[in-house]
Amino acid sequence: MPLVNNKVGDDCTASGDKALADGKALVDSLIKVVACYRHLASCVGGCTDSLQLRNELRQTREKAQNLAGDICHHLTSHLRDKSLPDGQRKEMELLWVAFSSCLELLHVDMCKVLNISGIVSLADSASLVHTGLEGCSDVAARALSLPDLNQAQTDSLPAGLESQERSTMELEISQIDRMIDDMEMKVNVLRWMVEPHGPQYADPLSSTDSASMALQSIDEEQQAPTSQPLCQRSHIFVLLLL
């Protein structure tokens, strides 16, 4: 019996580590997608609002929801597993907390987009707010991790698209709602017991932190696929100088 137990334990630990890594990767990409969604949402109703933007929003949203569904299953199943060792449980709970914050942000953004599209209609392009922005870029591409998005430029608004969009959005918002409710019901995570990671993130104002973070972001910049035709070279130099 003990042998069997050990074996099971080993498998669990190994698979647990993998599960943790998987979960972390999923949550990281969800964070990225949510950030992009927020960025796109801040353009809705403004002068850069267009069918293309709405398409990108929709695609980003779908991706976010798929990711969310996956993470939900993943984390729920692992956290309900009573045999999960403590260390891994703590990590899972961290992911859990990050995940629910993600959902919260996504939910608010979706509600706001729905609300704005009611006030400022895309069909009436005269009412789009002149915000001073010019042209959106590949934010959505970044979200979807695609090198490029082939968008067919449609000038005219297909009939009934907006109302269809609205009903789809309302459905998705209520889906997210239910997901959040389910999460709270099924898994009991004590938030005040969750501790974030070590000193790297602890001190909000230390100079080393921000510098290191800036550097990290520069690295990522240089490694990311250069599908940034609109980004000027000079900006990268400026970043390096920081």
Binding site: D28, I31, K32, V34, A35, C36, R38, H39, S42, C43, G45, V97, A98, S100, S101, C102, E104, L105, V108, C111, K112, L114, N115, I116, I119, A126, S127, V129, H130, T131, G132, L133, E134, G135, C136, S137, D138, V139, R142, A143, I173, S174, D177, R191, P196, H197, Y201, P204, L205, S207, S210, A211, Q216, S217, E220, E221, L230, C231, Q232, H235
Partner: protein, 467 residues
């Protein structure tokens, strides 16, 4: 963490109606033909479109809504203070200057909302972004709030930092001009939703803050029944058109204008100025000869006549001639019950019944049977207002019947002819002569004196008042 849903609805306060209206104004400003005139903002090397001057905003408001400049300035101020338009030159100073200062529209995502208020999580992410972007960019109060948030939502701090970084990376995809605009937008949003210390929070509802407990009303059939009942009662209330009210008020003012001592002056002279109490003496309760103005007032309304002691006396004399004096006696007795001592009520009611209401009474008054029955019932348990219906009945009887005849009668006309119009006291020949100052006699004393010295002309210190 609270999640607010569309489905549940009503948990979050309704969008303030002033926000909805301001949003409409914003949308109207975007019209390509009738909307705001846009200019370009030049910053060193970049040019950013869609800027407007404060002066343009005010001009547009004046033209669109046909209002004066002061009102347009106020309206524009509100648009700035609630974050629908933000200033470009001094972003922390949320003021609309009616000159060449540049402003820009806020993107709808950042419009002020009570339905999705800015959360702590959002603010933490914003501050983290600011901190990462440039070291030392956080202001003192922002640093304090950052530390506070770090303690409060510590469990999700990893997420805060990661999300901040991701948002920064997402915005790096854009051109420099767009990035500047996005930063300005976000800064303006947070200046309103988390104002620096010392700045008034525009979203604070103050005393009008909604009480959450009362809004949780179960919308069941009882609730709707009571709402229907309230509305029905409200419909049934008597309403008078405001135009009718105002007409009545104007007529009253016109009628009484000559009788008002402030508007018309009083004869012989204003006691407060001339120290001559003749005016009070001549208008005291009982005088041998009343003033003309006083007698005229008796013809304005029945209540005027009845509230003047002399008027009542005259009216009584007239009624005695007409053999209907018992009405006035009854009315006076009822007044005494209404305004008299509580201990004497029962006694007085008994008297009234004996003298006026009992069958075969000495001064039987003519009341309709319904009112009589009701009053007789009420007398069994007498209280201050038990005679009200009967009194009202007799009052209207006198008003409709005896009162108009009295006004046409010789008695009244003689009284009017006899009434005195006092002459104005001659003003002093030397205009700047100092009057001898002494404490004025109190009008209350003057009245008492006149009552005592019945018939005697009151003392006065000035010359020239004729009786």
């Amino acid at each position: 963490m609270t999640i607010n849903t569309l489905a549940k609805g009503g948990l979050q306060p309704e969008q303030m109606s002033c926000f909805r209206k301001m949003e409409k104004v914003l949308v109207a400003m975007q019209d390509p033909d009738m909307g705001m005139k846009m200019r370009n903002q030049r910053l060193l090397i970049t040019v950013i479109p869609h800027a407007m001057t404060g002066h343009d905003i005010i001009t547009w408001l004046i033209q669109k809504y046909h209002i004066c400049e002061e009102e347009a300035l106020h309206l524009g101020e509100m648009l700035v203070k609630y974050g629908y338009i933000y200033p470009l030159k001094e972003p922390r100073c949320l003021v609309l200057r009616p000159d060449e200062s540049p402003y820009r529209f806020q993107t709808p995502y950042f419009w002020t909302s009570t339905r999705w208020p800015a959360s702590e999580l959002d603010y933490a992410i914003y501050l983290a972004k600011k901190n990462i972007r440039k070291q030392g960019e956080l202001m003192e109060y922002e640093k304090e709030r950052y530390s506070l948030l770090h303690k409060r939502i510590n469990h999700t701090w990893d997420f805060v930092v990661m999300q901040a970084r991701e948002q920064l990376r997402a915005s790096k995809q854009r051109r420099k001009a767009d990035r500047i605009v996005l930063e300005c937008q976000e800064q303006a949003y947070w200046l309103i939703n988390r104002p620096p210390p010392g700045v008034q929070n525009m979203l604070d509802w103050g005393l009008e803050r909604p009480n959450n407990f009362s809004t949780r009303v179960p919308l069941n059939s009882d609730y709707y029944k009571s709402e229907i009942e309230t509305s029905r009662r409200a419909l049934g209330r008597n309403r008078v058109k405001s135009s009718v009210c105002l007409e009545g008020f104007v007529k009253y003012s016109e009628q009484y204008q000559n009788h008002d001592p402030i508007m018309q002056g009083c004869l012989p002279s204003n006691p407060w100025i001339s120290d001559d109490i003749a005016y009070w003496m001549m208008n005291s309760e009982i005088v041998p000869v009343p003033t003309r103005l006083r007698v005229e007032r008796w013809s304005f309304s029945f209540m005027e006549l009845l509230s003047d002691a002399m008027g009542r006396r005259e009216f009584m004399t007239y009624l005695e001639k007409e053999f209907s004096a018992e009405n006035l006696h009854f009315w006076q007795a009822c007044e005494e019950i209404r305004h008299g001592e509580s201990s004497k009520i029962i006694e007085k009611v008994e008297d009234v019944y004996k003298n006026f209401l009992a069958p075969g009474a000495a001064r039987w008054v003519n009341i309709d049977s319904k009112t009589m029955d009701k009053t007789l019932e009420g007398i069994k348990r007498p209280h201050r207002f038990v005679m009200d219906d009967a009194q009202m009945h007799i009052y209207f009887l006198m008003k409709k019947d005896s009162y108009p005849r009295y006004l046409k009668s010789d008695l009244y006309k003689n009284m009017l002819a006899k009434a005195v119009v006092p002459q104005e006291t001659k003003k002093s020949v030397f205009p700047f002569m100092r009057r001898q100052r002494h404490s004025s006699p109190s009008p209350a004393q003057a009245g008492a004196q006149a009552a005592e010295e019945d018939g005697r002309a009151g003392t006065n210190s000035a010359a020239g008042s004729h009786f």
